[in-house]
Point group: C2
Chain length 267, copies 2
Amino acid sequence: MLKVPEHQVAGHKAKDGVMGPLVDDTGRFYKPLQNDDRGSRELSFYSSLSSHSHPSIPLPFFPAFHGTKVVEASDGSGPHPHLVLEDLLRGYAKPSVMDVKIGSRTWHLGDSEDYIAKCLAKDRESSTIPLAFRISGVKDALSAWEPPRKSLQSLSADGALFILRKFVSSNASDPDCAFASEVYAAVLERLLELKAWFEVQTLYHFYSCSLLLLYDKGDGKRKVLVKLVDFAHVVPGNGAIDHNFLGGLSSFIKFLKDILAQPTIHQ
Amino acid sequence: MLKVPEHQVAGHKAKDGVMGPLVDDTGRFYKPLQNDDRGSRELSFYSSLSSHSHPSIPLPFFPAFHGTKVVEASDGSGPHPHLVLEDLLRGYAKPSVMDVKIGSRTWHLGDSEDYIAKCLAKDRESSTIPLAFRISGVKDALSAWEPPRKSLQSLSADGALFILRKFVSSNASDPDCAFASEVYAAVLERLLELKAWFEVQTLYHFYSCSLLLLYDKGDGKRKVLVKLVDFAHVVPGNGAIDHNFLGGLSSFIKFLKDILAQPTIHQ
């Protein structure tokens, strides 16, 4: 039985007649395959990952891929092909989740002029150009904190720092960063591993790709998870590293390091 | 007595009625102060560097600054204010010099629409977007190798690798990379130090700034030098690292590491 995921923070949601992702009760996530280049590009990326024997690819950063399947679309439009992926949020009692789109440029030279103009306008209005990342969504299942997505996209450095502090806090108003050392130390360790790969890999350039950060705010273990998601704009590296993703990742890492160095602010 | 420098590889040259830099015989380099924002921005950057007591700034990467001075302009137009800098090439018998403009974006959000459009067009046509750097000029005083600047700007990854190999070779046609281990090992050491600074510094964002690589191809010591030059487009960091420069620097570093790992190519 497929249903709409409870804690989706970014991308199209399956409601109000929009086709969105679905989950089943065996831990699989069904992402509608887009009908254009984006769908075929994301499918070919997942296929290349799973067929690739390249030993350097850090597979644990990518959701497990189980092929494609035609299932009833969430918008009631009938059967539609979906990517079958791992449901990353399965088993989390009170997930705290954040989606961060990495990079100071969300387009590449192979895109159409219209698409480039649209992306560039959004990159300029959002924190994408100043910070080289934009927070696409955040949700705390414990406190039900879920700031409007629009408000997150054009954050200043101070604004981003505040959201990142709040994401690891036990209280709502004045962030106490109670979970900072536990959560961000684990996140940072993973991100430094990812960064080491991005400093050398020339296989792929990841445009408009997101980091998904996840931990459990319930009473049990934190289960900190760091994954890459959204590969509809992945293109070949052509001999260069993905300096755009690496720059954004390094910028994001600096924010986490600053919080770890000073978890509480005394004003 | 001021004269035109012998081995300038990028920027306006002082000839054919163009105002360009001059050098004297005491080791000083006179750069004409541009009349617009660029001039005032470069002057204020150098001033902030020399007055700044910020202990983290790696001053050896910047040319020494000796204030400004009004001297006769090289184009015969009369007295003009110049920045007085260190003449980096002084004392080199046979300098081999390369200017590499770092970053995948040469403009910033404070620039005018016209300027952004102009820069973006050039960034898209050149290697600035694909590689996050473009070679602005290269010259070998020993062999007189000095490829046309235009041919350097839109290099592919393979093309850039070829020029970078040739820069440290003793022969002209099939690069032997005779000086690679000596020169690039020293350059790499410096660049990794610079990169460590760019991973944390949020004081400045350096747009359209260049790395100057220099060594002596004569019989004496190599005297490998790595400097940053051109600060007419430096703006405050506003709380974020300079992800644009860092991405380009990391991309350039990857090329040098590849050459060091495989100095000779067997085809």
